[in-house]
Symmetry: C2
Subunit: 398 residues, 2 copies
Amino acid sequence: MAILDDDVVNAFVPGRRLERPALGTGRLSGLRFAVKDLFDVAGSITTYGNPDWAASHPVAVATAPVITTLLQAGARLVGKTKTVELAYGLTGENVWHGTPVNPRAPQRFPGGSSCGSATAVAADLVDFALGSDTAGSVRIPASYCGLYGIRPSHGAVSLAGAFPLAPSFDTCGWFSRTASLLVGVGDVLLPGGRQPVDGPLLRVEEAWVNARPEVAEVLRPRLERIEQLRGRAIGIRVVPEGIDSLFDHFRTVQAEEVWASLGRWIETAKPRLGPGVRERFAAAKATDPAIAGPGRAFRRVLQARVRPLLAAGAVLVFPTSPCPAPLLTAGPAEQDAVRAATIGVTAIASLCGLPEVTLPAGMVDGAPVGLSLVAGPGLDRGLLAFACDAADVLGLPI
Amino acid sequence: MAILDDDVVNAFVPGRRLERPALGTGRLSGLRFAVKDLFDVAGSITTYGNPDWAASHPVAVATAPVITTLLQAGARLVGKTKTVELAYGLTGENVWHGTPVNPRAPQRFPGGSSCGSATAVAADLVDFALGSDTAGSVRIPASYCGLYGIRPSHGAVSLAGAFPLAPSFDTCGWFSRTASLLVGVGDVLLPGGRQPVDGPLLRVEEAWVNARPEVAEVLRPRLERIEQLRGRAIGIRVVPEGIDSLFDHFRTVQAEEVWASLGRWIETAKPRLGPGVRERFAAAKATDPAIAGPGRAFRRVLQARVRPLLAAGAVLVFPTSPCPAPLLTAGPAEQDAVRAATIGVTAIASLCGLPEVTLPAGMVDGAPVGLSLVAGPGLDRGLLAFACDAADVLGLPI
């Protein structure tokens, strides 16, 4: 597992290797961090991964509050990292800025959309990095790059000063190489209170079946070790409608919001968009409200089904991604198939607004795969504490 | 479905057709009830279903408080009903007092141990009746006789003035022909507060698989109708160790307590005991504490696994009994097999101290089968309210 230099990794947006010193001392003193280039830093244009976006937007006049909070806690900003254009994609490809290299599996995609933040952390260019996660944009690159990653409860961490994608799903998450730093950043950014997450483990059967057999095979003994902490997992099926319906419903509701957030700019600026991103925006534009309506209803049903199970501290557990990162040679059809299978699982936390932590739990075909833990809304700190215990029993970096 | 006279049903203990008038007016005014003959009524010997018990115990000097509460709420006591000897059996057989007739399926056992209370209600000899439920002694005869029945949360209703079987499992439950009266008795007997039970449905897969195929087939469409109230049920597996382990662990912990409660009397009085009951007491005497210890540990594990799922109002749903009542011609081997399969399911609520309501949901081979709803501990009133809604959507007697 080589640690690569930045001239190989290319994690940062060209011209955005900007430095901001710490604004205080605290929990994060001495640590370097980077932020996905959809968060504003005063004095710089936020590119959102697309040159036409950069050209049509002014210099930011204020820094996103979440960045200021990190600077005040002692961390130092060292740059803004690449993102899939407008954060609308999971492979991590960016044809304008160059797709960053996955340091843990250089022949494979890094995962996205927070591809630069993940690769910068994986290559030890920074200690931690901020990303955003709507459909899996922190969880998937964390899984692909062998990192810890968290998607917090929806609304738990401020997205002020960050560009939106699908606001009812958008969250601000982060990556680290150690469990303790994942917690440390959470201590700074998350609301107070530490209601424990000390309930039983719930094995989401659909997600285990959805994973490629070799992924499930590698992660199953990891789950068994975590069971030493909480007893045997209860198997649950949360989507009797079939896991495909999660992808279908999530996709339509997301597309409707994406078009509401970004459609006007797409229609007026007529930007160049890379492959995949272009097609997804065309589909978002074409989304029929008559289809998105049932999707929103499904979201309410799923929330009513899943959230009460987690109220007293139960934890969902399942493979973060159904497969390791696709090879860079994967064509559009394979990428689409991976996307559908992936969102079928990431949509659980996205649709229900739940916090999810992914642990760098295993390797398949020489590439990392993550194991996810999901808790009830607002139980982020308790979930992080449990993730630390789980990492410990798994012998992962603490 | 014939309503039978008492001279056919034989629900009451010979000589215990005792009457006590209402002691007030209230929710239950004008209603007749009976109590299983393990509850004391001042001035009468409580037989506990066995003539040697009756011969070796004095006349009760006080009435069980739960009976007084019902009298004060306006109900009138009309007699004491038959029980399996010392409440230690599920078929409802009593060779000393005569096995009461199941009015809904006269060729079959009535179910027990609260056999007289169930049959008295089923035959309309009373409006409701008290039973006790340790391993299923209300739930099973309710299922077999086509009645509503409730096993409350452990400790929710006083068992003062009632003889014990296995105190950490013993509860005071009741039977009715209508959902509203099941609720009405609960309004009088249960602690106040009505935290709603408004969470998702959890289909306990092991119990559905354990049920005979024809039972699952009849009850599955009933569950689907209840899903109209709460959305699609989540499938859960709560016993990865296998459902047989529920029976095995429950049986040993129960046996240890049974012997602690009744062993001294058995050893000193050397009573005559009927078939089945005799063998169970011999097994209880022989129970090795080294076996019951793991059973107690298993109970704690199961509680930690199941209770948090129900904290926010989720409801377990499964067939109350895996089969309709066995035919009266069933031999000991068949009875033992039915008992093991039955307790594998009833032990869920028993081991976890949870309230369970059974609804008279269907008929198989011309005999009734119940559908059970189980809620978190202490949520009895909310569970009863939900059971009413479920009965309504199923078109059952309200």
